[in-house]
């Protein structure tokens, strides 16, 4: 069993979101939802993070940051896109300045729909990301063995 499942540390970045989804995301940390029950900690440091949670429709400015944060996270890692904006651009889709979706910029593993996404579905998204993370941890272990031999 991988301990990644028991202690996923998350990194949250708002890539040009309206902050609606961010507030719902932070609500997960409050006493009502208390995600620390599952060992989930909001780190704010890409080098400590396992799961990258991104909200918003991404414009040129935030693209650089998203790519940079993603690159700084050590493997194994997973990405969860949260909210209609992060999935497809949402109501900003037709705006000239947005990329329209996190997957236009970095690979996304789990999509959490909603405008704003509800805390319950965000937690569910993270739990689904855990399964992916565990699989990656296994692959990574195999890769390390191959490199070592």
């Amino acid at each position: 069993m991988s301990f990644l499942k028991k202690s996923p540390w998350i990194l949250h970045y708002a890539a040009t979101s309206c902050n609606g989804c961010d507030i719902e995301l932070l609500a997960c940390l409050t006493p009502l939802y208390d995600v620390e029950r599952f060992g989930i900690v909001n780190t704010g440091n890409p080098k400590h993070a396992d799961i990258f949670l991104v909200t918003g429709s991404v414009n040129e400015e935030s693209r650089k940051v998203v790519e940079n944060l993603y690159a700084q996270m050590p493997d194994p890692k997973a990405v969860v896109a949260i909210g209609a904006c992060a999935l497809s651009g949402g109501i900003f889709r037709d705006a000239y300045n947005v990329y329209g979706g996190i997957d236009q910029v970095i690979p996304v593993d789990v999509y959490v729909p909603g405008c704003a996404a509800r805390p319950e579905s965000i937690i569910d998204g993270i739990v689904q990301a855990l399964a992916i993370l565990e699989e990656r941890a296994r692959d990574r272990k195999r890769q390390r063995k191959v490199v070592a031999s």
């Binding site: 991988s2 301990f3 990644l4 028991k6 202690s7 006493p31 208390d34 620390e36 029950r37 599952f38 060992g39 900690v41 909001n42 780190t43 704010g44 440091n45 080098k47 400590h48 396992d50 700084q72 050590p74 493997d75 194994p76 941890a137 990574r140 272990k141």
Partner: protein
């Protein structure tokens, strides 16, 4: 130095981190309860560290890992000396050296966040180090020896004689445990102005070393606290030490972070007021 002491010292090396991890886990649960949350499982810190070993380690410079091993090594040495019943002053110096190694590791990564983190850590060391020396001195004046085994076998009145020093020690314990209002260099809590301060650029197994070091440190600090009450026997002294230890959690949850200048001044004022005064009065009350 008999078999019992050696046993205790070896037990510290093997079980010390486990006890430290339990203390950290209990700390997180208590914190959660104070915020009316349920909180993580008791063994969460252990899960965290085991997970960190599964992650890739991003290395900025090879030196950082070397320094971190230095940090861990001297931390273990410090605790080993303490639990062996040997020289308290030597244990204190090893603890300081270990702290310096952690700063060096953070400095070597060259990131501005780590740099500010380690500058603040050095500053905090300047703040609490005088008080730690006073604690050792106080014990020396009461027990007539720096040897931990002599202090443990000392007079039951020592905690009364050293009451001011105990208060001063509790004050700096907050700094040593990286609790608010003194968690300037690195905070347990996710968000702070410094990202993660001193550990910003450490990841994977490197970060795991830091965590294990902190577990040892928890045990060592509990040991220091225990020393004050040690002549009363384990059954009485250990619960008191534990209660005082976890009182820090309450302080952590009820205070906001201070600025560095205020921290330094406050610590030195407390050191002077309680530590030095107590030290000067000691000849009158022993």
């Amino acid at each position: 130095m008999n078999v019992e002491h050696w046993g205790l010292a070896v037990a510290f090396v093997v079980l010390g981190p486990l006890l430290g991890a339990l203390l950290a886990g209990l700390d997180r649960r208590l914190t959660a309860r104070m915020q009316s949350r349920q909180g993580p499982p008791l063994l969460q810190p252990i899960y965290d560290v085991l997970k960190l070993f599964e992650k890739d380690t991003v290395v900025v410079t090879e030196l950082q890992t070397l320094y971190l091993w230095g940090f861990l090594f001297f931390m273990v040495i410090s605790g080993f000396i303490l639990f062996l019943g040997s020289d308290l002053l030597l244990s204190l110096f090893a603890l300081t050296v270990s702290g310096i190694f952690l700063c060096l590791a953070a400095y070597s990564t060259n990131s501005p966040y780590s740099n500010i983190g380690s500058s603040r850590e050095l500053l905090l060391m300047m703040a609490y180090e005088p008080m730690l020396i006073i604690v050792a001195l106080g014990f020396f004046l009461v027990a007539d020896s720096f040897r931990v085994s002599d202090i443990v076998a000392g007079s039951p009145w020592q905690v009364v004689q050293l009451f001011g020093i105990l208060l001063g020690f509790l004050f700096i314990l907050t700094i040593k445990l990286r609790k608010s209002p003194f968690d300037l260099s690195s905070s347990h809590h996710g968000h702070q102005e410094l990202v993660k301060g001193i550990t910003t650029d450490l990841s994977g197994s490197d970060l795991a070393l830091v965590e294990i070091g902190h577990w040892y440190e928890n045990t060592i600090l509990l040991g220091w606290l225990y020393l004050f009450f040690a002549p009363w026997g384990v059954a009485l002294a250990l619960p008191i030490a534990l209660v005082l230890f976890f009182a820090e959690v309450l302080v952590d949850n009820t205070h906001a972070r201070l600025k560095w200048a205020t921290t330094l001044k406050a610590t030195w004022v407390v050191t002077g007021l309680f530590g030095v005064t107590n030290l000067m009065l000691l000849p009158l009350i022993t």
